[in-house]
Symmetry: C2
Subunit: 386 residues, 2 copies
Amino acid sequence: MQTTGDQFLVKKINKAIVLDAIVRHCPLSRAQLSDMCGLNKGTVSTLVGELIEEKLVYEIGFGRSSGGRKPVMLMFNKSAGYAIGIDLEVRHMLAVMTDLDGRVIAERQVELERHDPASVLELLTGAARSLIGEAPPSAYGVIGAGVGVAGIVDDKGTVLFAPNLEWEQVELERLLRESLAVPVTIDNEANAGALGELQYGAGKEASGIVYLSVGAGIGAGIVTGGSLMKGAGGFSGELGHTTIETNGKRCRCGNKGCWEQYASESAALELARPLGVARFGELIELAKQDAPEAIRLFHEVGESLGIGIANVINAFNPELVLIGNRMVLAEPWIRTAIERTVSARALPFHRRQAQIRFASLGERSAVMGAAFSAVTAFLSKDRVTW
Amino acid sequence: MQTTGDQFLVKKINKAIVLDAIVRHCPLSRAQLSDMCGLNKGTVSTLVGELIEEKLVYEIGFGRSSGGRKPVMLMFNKSAGYAIGIDLEVRHMLAVMTDLDGRVIAERQVELERHDPASVLELLTGAARSLIGEAPPSAYGVIGAGVGVAGIVDDKGTVLFAPNLEWEQVELERLLRESLAVPVTIDNEANAGALGELQYGAGKEASGIVYLSVGAGIGAGIVTGGSLMKGAGGFSGELGHTTIETNGKRCRCGNKGCWEQYASESAALELARPLGVARFGELIELAKQDAPEAIRLFHEVGESLGIGIANVINAFNPELVLIGNRMVLAEPWIRTAIERTVSARALPFHRRQAQIRFASLGERSAVMGAAFSAVTAFLSKDRVTW
DNA sequence: TAACTTTGTATATCCATTAAACAAAGTTTT
DNA sequence: AAAACTTTGTTTAATGGATATACAAAGTTA
């Protein structure tokens, strides 16, 4: 059954429009809002009144007059509550607490030694509780937690399948919601990263992006028109397990020639084995010291990344491709190889439209996106995001 | 500026819900509609009254009583108007006229010898006018035309880039609208095919599909939650120009190892050259006569198709992949090769979720989707599709 | 035949938006 | 400095949707 229209829906819609405008463009006066949103002045007054009542908006005093009565300027109360964001990776998890505007208030990093849901959940709730304990006093307290997981998540927040964590059918949303007693949103790690960069990072000016999470594997989050592209069965599947070499290297997924066999953190480490390097950080260090083997290695990885990025560009025709996750660290040594390869391989029309950039939030893309999801869920409660 | 809420919007929303329910499930009574849509009986009465006034709905008399007053059954007036659908391919175009429920009333096929926009446009308007001339008398006459083009189209109906037609920046929507004097919608051919199959064909039961248009090249249309996935710059780029063999065959796009070099109609013909076969139809004939070379050839093509389909499945995790366009004709000889390859290469989790089928509208997928777009545009005029 | 059901309409109420009037508090012009 | 104009934000009446309720019409069941 669809959402039918009535006066309450109308109010939800308009309130969401007004709040969104304030969040994005504050300080703003009621008169400006009326202009921007196309709503009657009286309507804006009423809605702003309620938002002030709800402590989501406050007045900061008069603005400059432009030939008439001084406007009363309104601000978004970004400290009305705080959000938890968690990025659950294979070897570690990163957790942050942000205000409603995405400023980081506190942060935790936890190493993961075991992967079974129970242990992970314990560490997860531990980190979250500890952050919650640090929340400053506020109108709403901690308004929710968002989690990004390297795996496939359904719309009810169940992790259907997370090969690297060896999880299947884990009802993460329910479990976390019950133990934290706050609303919880779960999403794929790449999707979370895409949201994070779009909202707070390198994609701020873009309307749509393809975010490539290049870590142990490769995942993708695609945002169009401000919202995540949700595919058929949960989407943001595994772009890393896309064949770029029909009879290429065997992948543990069973396929041959998977992209991530050539272009991921793991692929780089594989290439680095003859150098006696076992950790990605060391490889970066070597490159920083201009070690020619490391630099050559990154060129090779960059080229392979470029092949897959050209595929992404041809397939999706995006305006912006963002490379995120650990591979961001290798930017100086892979950037030109990527660009050269993409220019040689992508369709010229598509290539001209697409920019390729690196995630500006570094390792925080996903965690910020997860927190943002929590904020969005909170702000659109009893409000409709149109 | 966003759509703000007011009473008119509410009415639009509810009227669209009611009409949609009637279109989908008629015959229906007002009482059933009230139940199904979650709207008050009085509201439904008012809206149905207006829809009857507008000739989009009519009463067909009493239904069976279930212990009380007999219900008055309502029908969607699928003959209130007619839609034109056009599929603009490289060598020919197909044009149909359908009623509002997608039944084909008349059909035209036109060979294209020249590709310059002016000549094509002349043939196109000619075919459309001739079909319009055949429209039976009706309340609204011909309510619009939809076109599917093998190329990239922006949201204003301009063909940005159509390599096979050698078009760039052709304002097809404006030109056609002006010469036909009906509303015109333009979409990518693969998107149109996806819509057609989803609405009238093999995807009727699915909520989301990936439609692969395998003809001279390979394009994709992706539908989720009933609507087309619109990527950043127009989307439905060129999945066919996705690399599946890093150092594979040179493609005229400049890249190496493009999927469509191995898995399209053209790829099949390339393989068939030693056999002295120059047209796809002949190849099909040979296979029908059990010619072993033709059958072996199709196995090879099927395998290559499977590689790309496994990529699609891994990347999008769809519930249904539909193979459409000319390659449908080869179903008997490529089906098992495709399935074997996909099972070997796709991630098991994703593979289990995905069905692979062939388009059931055959060469009409795109043309039906184009007509459907016109119908949708007509029915949502002054109504909101929620 | 009486009691119950179901359908569809009519009516009063509610409520959100809008337009218009207006008060408050400025700036600009003369 | 006074008058005229501007801008802001509130108030008020009108508009038009949806809803709940009552009710009439037309059935079926006991």
